[in-house]
Symmetry: C2
Subunit: 112 residues, 2 copies
Amino acid sequence: MPADTSIIPEVRLNLVAPDIEAPVAVATLLADRNRTTILAILRDGPHCVCELAAALGERSNNVSNHLARLREAGLVRASRMAADTRRVYYERDEAACTAALSQLKGVLEPIR
Amino acid sequence: MPADTSIIPEVRLNLVAPDIEAPVAVATLLADRNRTTILAILRDGPHCVCELAAALGERSNNVSNHLARLREAGLVRASRMAADTRRVYYERDEAACTAALSQLKGVLEPIR
DNA sequence: GAACTGTGTCACCCGTGACTGACACAACCG
DNA sequence: CGGTTGTGTCAGTCACGGGTGACACAGTTC
């Protein structure tokens, strides 16, 4: 005879996948060692490309590529300083970083 | 005449790249649409593989692969329930998720 | 026992993305 | 002006990882 199926939880096939584009985009940026290290180093203030390249042990054009990705995402800003216009200094956009963190909280934090 | 070089910031080539293995590992897991969606869906309680597969529009073996990655990272747990031993139910490990979020905070939050 | 459903494992294919090399541009110096 | 340094761009190459297909295993039903 069949078991009491009433206590077997029904399979829910109508689950809706939530919108996770933004957090995935943030995580994709952080999923690279060089980009995450750049963001970590910039926490102590602006640095130029050559400094970051030396710290990472990477070529400057490669670092420049990663900085472009971070810049397009708004996480960092580039500027030439008056005292040293030859080098380009990058600094974090703390507001954007906080917003990015919020996206990840939306996935990793318990339901509110 | 030469500019006053004393105001030109010296290039710091002695920067030390911080340890970012853990946050990169977390971000790598979240950098995939299916894995992030799984974590988001599991916020409302345990679900079996077939439910997750239906919600994602993916095949169950593919979802099982992603769940294995999440399981190895400790973010989810698998269990067979007494009322339905045929299916495997997955649930979030909230403590591990919180710990994972802390790793990302260490990169995205401003310096303390 | 056989048949079936749900899940897990693994080799394979293939697209995405990181690193490279060559080159171009910007800003300084002689 | 030409030379040098710092940075950016882009096509090419290659490794990594996600999806698939085939199969094995667990648990249930007949």
